[in-house]
């Protein structure tokens, strides 16, 4: 299958570089003349997922595949994992540390933002091992 792929490595705690992947994907989608509304949905979803690795995990990798129909993003991290994905999806639920909260992150709105702005969201997690998040957004129609 043809398409454009991107890959990024993310370090836990590295807030300085948070958003780099989102910024590059945004630029690419603009060049591909994707509708601004669609780009915004991708950017919100990817940014939140990127920040979750930085805020909650040890390290991770982001793989992006863009083809004519959709963008598919997989974020796989090594980290503490999530005990209850259902609970994590609730608005306001957060285990962010006080220092992360003081930066304005940790409002417990990240996963809800991803859900709202994607066409497909899947979160698979193993406690003590890590989390894999898959996000898809349709680029046409």
């Amino acid at each position: 299958m043809s398409g454009i792929t991107f890959s990024y490595k993310i370090d836990g705690g590295d807030f300085v570089n948070a958003g780099k992947a989102s910024s590059e994907i945004k630029r690419t989608l603009k060049q591909l003349n994707v509708a601004q509304k669609t780009i915004k949905r991708v950017v919100v979803s990817l940014y939140e997922a990127e920040v979750n690795i930085v805020a909650h995990a040890h390290r991770g990798e982001i793989n992006v595949l863009i083809n004519a129909e959709e963008i598919s993003i997989t974020l796989k991290d090594e980290g503490p994992g999530i005990e209850s994905v259902e609970q994590a999806m609730e608005v306001g639920y957060s285990t962010a540390s006080p220092s992360v909260v003081s930066m304005g992150f940790g409002a417990g709105m990240g996963l809800p933002n991803m859900k709202k702005n994607s066409d497909y969201l899947n979160v698979e997690s193993k406690v003590g091992v890590g989390t894999t998040v898959t996000i898809k957004v349709a680029l046409v129609g």
């Binding site: 300085v16 910024s23 919100v44 940014y47 930066m103 702005n117």
Partner: protein, 113 residues
């Protein structure tokens, strides 16, 4: 209305030297919870906040915001300032509260439209 106009009308400080003061201002957004701003702010809005770190710039850039106003005497961290110099998004400042600045900005935009 462009950023230059609100800098004058609201008597704002401009922190970054290369700030693009000709960006169009279409509205405003007040918020300190980053996910709230990320998920709900819209292109062309001016963002009023107390947050002063680099991620504020990332969010403003990703959402195509026109400017950031640091309220209540806040000043940008060095990392935020550095990012602002790169991006050109104006980082502005005021001694006033979000309530007062937001009220004035709302009125300016209402008269302008």
């Amino acid at each position: 209305m462009v950023v230059k106009n609100i800098v004058r009308e609201l008597d704002l400080k401009v922190f970054n030297k290369n700030a693009d003061l000709d960006l169009e201002v279409k509205g405003g957004f007040v918020g300190d919870l980053l996910s709230h701003v990320m998920g709900n702010s819209e292109e062309g809005q001016v963002w009023l906040t107390v947050q002063t770190h680099k991620n504020v710039l990332a969010i403003a850039s990703l959402n195509d915001l026109s400017a950031i106003i640091l309220i209540d005497k806040q000043i940008p961290d060095p990392s935020m300032l550095e990012a602002a110099e790169k991006e050109g998004i104006p980082v502005l400042g005021s001694d006033k509260t979000a309530f007062e600045l937001g009220g004035k900005l709302f009125e300016l935009l209402r008269i302008d439209s």
